[in-house]
């Protein structure tokens, strides 16, 4: 066997687990008889041991964070998706409020027409609703995007959205305590409007009286 070529090649193959059983015994036989190859083999084994003893070097503890901070930004959509998956209850609540708020604000902004809850016997002109003298509104009266003059009587609450109560010429008191049976609620901020609707829906759900809800409002 040619020491400087064939035997050394077999040694490397042996170290790489690439040697057939036949070649293994061939190499072993040669190593027994050749001291220079024995020496060479011992040195290779030593090298192998040294190389395998190389320490594992660990990355700095903030490595992962640094990588993550340097990644290109992901599309927002996915971020929300994952967040929603991990926070289902908060998400449900958020969706509820967003939809409600969006819905209500579109009602608030999108419709600037005068609307009034009880049409019968009321006089509507020039963005003003009048409850004429002698007319009694049995329930609540809601006026949106208009002013209100009460010459008659409202037994329930009066809710004015984006409008005001115009004082009766005959009285200096604009709230006409005698003419309104319930409370007067003036709403000119969107949050008030939303709040009013939330209370209203709670009211609808639990069949509370409007008065009770206003009491609740006071407590809140």
């Amino acid at each position: 066997m040619a020491c400087n070529k064939e035997a050394i090649k077999l040694m490397h193959q042996y170290l790489d687990d690439e040697l057939s059983t036949d070649d293994k015994s061939k190499l072993q036989a040669h190593l027994k008889s050749c001291t220079s190859c024995q020496q060479h083999y011992q040195e290779l084994k030593k090298t192998n041991t040294y190389m395998k003893s190389m320490d594992q070097i660990n990355v700095p503890h903030d490595f992962t964070r640094n990588v993550m901070n340097n990644l290109p930004k992901e599309p927002k959509r996915v971020g929300y998706k994952r967040w929603m998956k991990t926070h289902p209850i908060v998400t449900a609540a958020a969706i509820f409020f967003v939809l409600m708020f969006a819905g209500l604000s579109s009602v608030w902004n999108g419709n600037s027409q005068l609307t009034v809850s009880k049409q019968k016997d009321l006089v509507i002109e020039n963005n003003t609703v009048t409850v004429p003298e002698g007319v009694t509104v049995d329930g609540d009266l809601v006026v949106k995007n208009g002013d209100l003059i009460i010459e008659g009587t409202v037994k329930g609450d009066v809710v004015l959205i984006n409008g005001k109560l115009i004082s009766d010429q005959k009285s200096s008191d604009p709230y006409l305590a005698a003419a309104i049976g319930g409370e007067l609620k003036q709403i000119d901020q969107i949050f008030d409007w939303v709040w009013y609707n939330i209370k209203k829906s709670i009211n609808d759900v639990f069949s509370f009286k409007v008065n009770t809800i206003y009491t609740l409002h006071a407590l809140v």
């Binding site: 060479h40 040195e43 040294y50 190389m54 594992q56 070097i57 490595f63 290109p72 971020g79």
Partner: protein
């Protein structure tokens, strides 16, 4: 674990960036190790390892799920590191005074900071000596040797990582090992 990582990679492919953090923490030491053993400098190794992960993330869609992720990732890391070595002045790693200095610094720092017992210090000296000798190898032998000994990759895996024929892998390991034998035999 491979399966868990496969799952994470699927999530990353679907656009879930956060799932990539688990992939990074699973492979970070391996990748860092490959870069460090090839470049011989902890700061550059960290920089290269980080770059490798970012490239893997950016190109994740081109990764074939049926293949081994580590092979693909190591390929990115070794390519980046070989590029970096080539961009350096050739005498940077051939100059005996400069090469491996950071490795030595790191080991001597470790040794002085923690007041290690004598045999540990000796082991650290041996470690830095081995690193120095790895740095003496030309890059194409260095990458093969590092992959072979560091992660005990099979010859086939090494040929896939480096995209070279398996016969070339064998030749380079043999030559690299011969070169190291000559330098380490007196230790």
């Amino acid at each position: 674990m491979e399966n868990a990582i496969k799952q994470k990679i699927k999530q990353v492919k679907k656009g879930d960036q956060a799932a990539f953090a688990d992939v990074v923490s699973f492979y970070q030491n391996k990748v860092y190790q490959i870069c460090y053993r090839m470049i011989g400098n902890v700061h550059e190794a960290e920089d290269l390892a980080q770059e490798a992960f970012i490239r893997a993330f950016v190109n994740i869609q081109s990764f074939d799920d049926n293949r081994k992720f580590s092979t693909w990732l190591y390929r990115i890391a070794t390519n980046l590191t070989i590029d970096r070595i080539r961009k350096k002045k050739p005498d940077y790693y051939l100059d005996a005074d400069v090469k491996g200095t950071d490795g030595l610094d790191m080991y001597s720092q470790l040794a002085s900071d923690q007041k290690l017992p004598e045999e540990e210090v000796e082991s650290l000296e041996l470690q830095s000596y081995i690193q120095t000798e790895i740095m003496m190898l030309p890059p194409k032998y260095r990458s093969v040797i590092v992959l072979r000994y560091l992660d005990e990759l099979s010859l086939l895996e090494i040929s896939e990582v480096l995209d070279i024929p398996i016969g070339t892998v064998k030749t380079r390991i043999h030559r690299g090992r011969e070169s190291l034998r000559k330098r380490l035999r007196h230790m």
